[in-house]
Structure formats: structure tokens, C-alpha cells
Amino acid sequence: MKSQTRPRLVVVGNGMAGMRTVEELLKIAPQRYEITVFGAEPHPNYNRILLSPVLAGETRFEQIVLNERAWYDEHGIGLHTGRAVTAIRRGARIVEAAGGIEAPYDRLLLATGSVPALPTVPGVGLPGVLTYRDIADTQAMIDAAAPQRKAVVIGGGLLGLEAANGLRERGMDVSVVHLMPWLMERQLDQAAAALLQKSLEARGLRFLLQTQTLELVANAGGRVGAVRVKSAADPDAEPTRIEAELVVIAIGIRPHTALAERAGLHCQRGIVVTDTLQTVTDPRIYAVGECVNHRGTAYGLVAPLFEQARVCATHLAESGIGRFQGAVVTTRLKVTGVDVYSIGAFQGGSEADEITLADPTRGVYKKLVLDGDRLAGACLVGDTEHASWYGKLVKDKTPVGALRETLIFGENSIGDSGHAGANRAATLDDAAEVCGCNGVCKGAIVRTIRERKLLTLDDVRKHTKASGSCGSCTGLVEQILIATAGGNYAPTPQARPLCACTERTHAEVRQAIREHKLLTAADVRARLAWRTPAGCASCRPAINYYLISTWPGEARDEPLSRFVNERAHANIQKDGTFSVVPRIWGGVTSAAELRRIADVVDKYRIPEVKVTGGQRIDLLGVRKEDLPGVWRDLDMPSGHAYGKALRTVKTCVGSEWCRFGTQDSTRMGIELERALWKMWAPHKVKLAVSGCPRNCAESGIKDVGVIGVDSGWELHVAGNGGIKTEVAQFLVKVRTHEEVIEYASAFLQLYREEGHYLERTVHYVARVGLDHVKQRVVDDAAGRRALAQRLAYALSLEADPWHEPGKAAVDARQFIPLVVEA
């Protein structure tokens, strides 16, 4: 049903950026506009990035179509293909297209893309001279390609090399003429380019570097027959002639702004737009994609263009609070078997700090450029296995000082569980399990990407569940996506929003709560212009945690914003029953406690009793209605085994009994547990205390691990025994029990105040750097005491939910199901 009153959106350009904007718009405001799309090409929207595999004969046109014509119909979009828009009459708000079609608009989106740049030499217009931009160009190249015939590609950039490779794959004899001293000079340094050149030469390509094209020469039949070139390095060199039955010009692209210029829109190497993708001339007109100049940059790679599309859509939907603020650019060469990747400021320079690894025999070159303790850029040839990880480090500005020694070898895969150490997508067969959490194999991921035409990691995650749980296979899934779809088209935004309800980051939400003294979730959502009045399942628990940890005693805990476990104070199991873990201080129990536990098991017919890894006892299969009775009869404190909270303090026997023990670790553990229990945190927190460096309590993989030595205690922080085993890092050595408690409290309070919700200490410390933690907890004595006092104050207000349900705001009604006779 079409409404007459809907505003009209006209889109000029049926390519990837324009249609991505429309898709994003349909997601958030499906009915807002009457949409009409004009495309100059006679095809529906297709994936331009995959033209190179089409040229190389690895895939077919039909497989790269992104939106079939049926998709436009389904969404009520008027589609005019093969109709170039010829004019925009801004006064009347009408576009005119070829064939006399006119379309009035209320909002206009320009996504006219780019046109190939051409050299100013004679012969460019000869038959047999092609550019490389669209399906027609690709088809012309395929038609012209014939085995044994000679081709010349002018331009040794990304596109030129992909064209050259494609023609070579079709059996042609290919020479690449490049003006600059090395290939892909905008994406690679000289050493990397030399390796790339070597591996392309091994495939039969020939290169003429630092070579200027003088003229394209016609043969007797009037088609192109040769290219006249001359060395650009040597002014005295004589011109030479290269035979060519096909010439492909790929020296670059320039924004296609002719239409916008005629319409009087300000253009300067692209249509000039603001951070909201609005043209600076006419607020009714937006522009995205390669035709755009944003803060002086015209992007030619798809990830930043998709980000533009996302931001532009929010503004077209009039819910926009997002801004496009530029992007870190990554490049991958799509030549099968030749791995090339670069990101960020990879060129380095005299000031920059570089780490390089070169193994020419293996064809591997890696260069990492550091700016202080941040990774500023990377350039990889031959081994791009860890490209996504480096990309993330650059975009997230992660401190990498502590990783420096091993950074060049990539993300440490030791201890990665759930996908059997597999980390190269290409070598996996289809039956190989990629995501151990959700049981997703490679074949299923590839099939879903193809069938649903997925382009981003988020989409793959949504549709296949792969990497959606623990996330340890994210890099692998991304590689599969890249191999299947030609790239991961979504840039990781430099600052990730907290959830889909907002553009605000965790840090911004936290800061607003502190600065404006916000005390309720409703205030937070109102102040920060949340898109959803009630939030979602992701932001509700996060905001609740930020409120109660920032304003203890003032902000009220909202149990209904918590996950079921923290509302019921027990762990939900797959059958809907719960598990109960009472607190056993330091793992030390007694006959009386064990007898009570046994009695509870009998009385409530609890089906399973299990000793946990944290030296406690788990009662499994408890019905929700029985929880209050179980707690009362156990008469033991809550173990908080269900919460983002202090879980256990694991201990070894220590000097009281052990013949090797140097310290009383059991007593230390109990003191720590009594000081810290009832502590809510961004994620679960586990401690351990060992009485000697033999470390029987496994202190090396805990959030806070304490190890007794003869002269006192060592504190280690940010260890993790989970998905990726991470060894805790040494923080400080102290002498007394009181100091252990003060330092541990201060570290945990810092984590409580600065950690993002659902971020374990290992990831928190990786994000802020151990130096920051040491400065706040070790070097600054007054600050340390203040942190410890803030934690002690917050904990003094907490109640045991099992035994003080009123004070802990536990809703007792949840334990009593309603019943009616039906």
C-alpha cells in the first residue's frame, strides 16, 4: 500500500554505496520514503569488488549480483537501469534522466561513483583500448582476451595488477607499464612491492617500472597495435615500442562529479560533504561513495564507503546522531594466491619506529609501524594471516608496548580453544568446524555468505552464529568472509557504540553518568538521545552496572535490567532449572556445612551435586520455586557463581600443612574473599592465592593471582583461564596481608571504574596498558588508598541476596508461579 504523503527519495547511482545506503535506510525506517533509483548501467546492483575474480574466470557475473530486480520490487523501489541522470533542477527539485524521464524529489542521494582517469597521450580512443571499471569493461576484456595474444596494462596499482592477473589467467601475454619506481606505491613500501613483483613475475607477468607511456599506436586495421614508452628515470633514454593487441588503462579513478557540478553543487576533487554526508551547498542533497570529498579525502575502498552509507541512512531516516569522521584505510589485493595487505600509516618515516621481518625465500615480508606504544600501520606480503588482528590494533589504538617482542609473529594462538588451532581459512575443508561454540563448519559459512550475499562480519555472525559466542574464531570467520565475498566491507568503527540503540561508546556513557550525576537508566537514555525508549538486552545490563558502580548507595539497582541469573541469584541451566553454589570461604568447609548441604540435596531432591573448579559445591537442577528454601536451609552465603561479580578465591593448603609452603595462603585467601565478596564488576572476577611459587592454586591464570614467597606476596593481575589462556602479569610485590588486600582492592576498583561492561580484566588491561594500572595502583599511594576505600564503601552497602532479599532488592514474586484452572 503506497501512501501519497510519503516524501520522495531519489537515488542517482545504482552501485554499492548508493544501494548500501538504501538498505541501511530500509532497516531503520522501511516506510519513510517513496524511493526511486537511477542507474546508468543496464544491471541491478552488483559487487564491483568481485569483477577481478570474474575477469580471472574464478566466478561468474550472476554470482556477484547483490540486489536482484525482485529485491527492488519487494521493497517498492522504482528502478530505472540504463538511464543516466542528465540534470538536476534544484529549484524545482526534479531530476531528468535519459529518455525524457523526470522524477521529483524531496531528498536526493548522489552516489555517482567514479570514472577512470585517462592519460593525456595520443591514441587513448583507439578500438582495443579499455578501462577497468564496470561489467561492460570486464566483458570487453574477456571478449578481447585470447591465449598467446599480447596485452599491456598501463598502471601498476591495485586495479591494474588485478586486471593484469585476470588477463594472464586467460592466457594472455601481459606487460604492466608503471610510471612509479615500485608497484602499488600508495599501499606498499618498496620492499613489499619488490616481493609482490617477484611473485607476480613467477606467474608470468612482465613489469616496466618507472616507465612513461608516450602514445598508443594503431595497427593497419585501425585498432591499437602497440604502446610507445620511454624510461622516466633516464631523460636520455630512447623510446621503445611494445606490441599490444589489447591495452587496459588503470592509472586511477576520479570522482564522477559532472552532474553535481552542472547542478551548481560545490565540488573540489569530489562532491564536498559534511560529516553527515550532506552536500555543503544544498541540505536536501546527500552524497556517498567514491564521488564524495569528505574532509579533503575521496575514499575508493569499500569499507569507509559502507560506513558513510550507514551514517547517511540514519540522517535520511531523521534519527541521525551519527557522524562520519573519516576512516583508517585498509587494502587487500584480490589476486588468488598472492596475499597483500596494508593498513594505516604503513610508510613509516624517519621519526617512526619500525619492526620488520623479511624472508624472501618464503616470499614473506611484514612491516609494522609503531607510534609510541600504538600500532600506526602495517604492510604484509605473503602472510596475511594476522591482518585482521593488526587492523583491529590500529583502529582501536590498543597499547602494544607489552606485546612488542612477539607482535611481528601475529596474534598468539596458543591456548585458542574451540576450533582445534585451525587458523588458515584457505586450507580448511568444508566440513572443518570453525565455531566450536555454535558448531558451525566452514561449508555452512561459505554457503550462507553466498546465498544471502553477506558482506560484513556482523551479518555473518547474525546469520550463521559463527563467532557470535566466545568470539575466539572471529579472525578465522573474517578470513572465510574475505575469501568468499572479496572483503570484509564493514570497517570496525574506531569507537564502537555500546549497542544498536546509540552511537555512544561505553566510555562516553560512563563519562556522562559521572559528569551529569545521572542516577537512573531512563535519565541516561534521555540525556544521550537513545533511539529506543526502553533500551535493549545489551544496553540495559550495561547501564545498570555503570550506574550502581559509579553512584553506590545513590543509584538504585534495577533487577529487571539484569540477566536472569542476577535477578534469580542462581544460574539458569539448559532445561530452565537453576544451579546453586554456596560460598565456601577459601574452599575450607566443615562437617556441619557438608551435612546441611547433604540434607538440602535430599529434601529438595536435587539431582546432581558436583565439586566445581573453584573449590566449591554446585547443586544442579534446582527448581526455581525451591530456591528460597534451598538458600534458607543451606544457611550459607551466596557464592555469586551466577554474577558478573567476585566468584571464588581459590587457595592451596599453604604453610599450615604443606611442607613446601612459605605463606599461609588459606588464611590470606579467606581474608581476601571476606573483604571482596558481594562485589559487582564489569564481568566475573576470580582470585587465587598460592602459598609458594609451585602455585597449586593456579594464581597465574586469575584476574588477581597472589603467590607467596619467603619475603611476602607477589600480586599478578589480568590472567585468564578461559577461551584464550592468558598468563597474569606481575603487578607488585608486598609484605603484609593488609597490603595484599589494599593493592588487590585498588586494582579491582580501577577495573570497576574503567572497565567496559562484559570486559574481563585481561581485555581491560590490554586496552589501557599495564603501565597505566601500575601508575594508578603501585606508584600513586594516595590514589591507591582512595580506590580501595571507594570499593570498601560500595561493598559496605551491598547485601547478601540469599539472606537479605529485601535489602538486595530481590523480587520474591518470581519464585511463585501463577496458576489458573483452564
Binding site: 535493549c536 530452565g576 518470581q814
Partner: protein
């Protein structure tokens, strides 16, 4: 009023939360996203049978406590990209009391989930 079965007072279901209801052999999640609205869905996520009455309620949807599948309260539809539909039951609020449509319950030959023990 024999077409409708009286269940409980509206305020027995917390605003922003849910309650579980045993109605004969059927287990129902009464979900009240805010003070205005309340819905009745079968208390069983189509994915792995999770109890929706334990889920986090936010706006127009509830997230299953087991694996986070989201269900639209007004229709019972599982929100894309997940698939499926949860049975919903006719419900009205009259003078602060919740009533369920008897016909919807009668047509409910579903076995109770393992954890529910009957009324």
C-alpha cells in the same frame, strides 16, 4: 464472561518484567514491557525451549535467557535473522485484572516443559 479466564491483578506482573503462569497443561509467560502493555506468550523459545518468562524485557521484545533469541511481544515472531514463532494468547486487561481468552487455551495441547511442574 465465560469466554475469558481471570488470571491475576495487572500489578502482580512487574512492569518491565514477566511472570510465569501455569494454565492447565500450558505454561505461559505473562510479559509486561511497561505499565501500559501486557502480553501472553507460550513460555517456550522455539530455538531450544528456553523459558521466555525469565528473559530480559526491553521495549517491544523479550530476549530468551538461554541464547538471546529475541521475540516480538505483540506477534510472537522471532526477530530476524533468527526464525520461528511463539504461540500467543488473547489477553485483555479489565479493571486492573488480566484475562486470557479461553478458546486460545483450549487449543493448546502442548506438553509442559521439563522444568515446569503442574498446577
Amino acid at each position: 464472561m465465560t469466554d475469558w479466564i481471570e488470571v491475576c491483578a495487572l500489578d502482580e506482573v512487574p512492569a518491565g518484567g514477566a511472570r510465569r503462569l501455569h494454565a492447565g497443561g500450558t505454561v505461559i509467560a505473562l510479559i509486561r514491557p511497561d505499565s501500559e502493555r501486557v502480553y501472553a506468550l507460550e513460555d517456550r523459545c522455539p530455538h531450544k525451549g528456553g523459558p521466555l518468562s525469565e528473559g530480559l524485557v526491553a521495549g517491544d521484545r523479550v530476549a530468551c535467557p538461554l541464547h538471546g533469541q529475541c521475540v516480538e511481544l505483540a506477534t510472537g515472531a522471532v526477530i530476524a535473522p533468527d526464525e520461528g514463532r511463539v504461540r500467543s494468547f488473547g489477553l485483555r486487561v479489565d479493571a486492573g485484572r488480566i484475562w486470557l481468552r479461553r478458546a486460545d487455551l483450549a487449543a493448546a495441547p502442548q506438553p509442559a516443559p521439563a522444568c515446569a511442574h503442574g498446577a
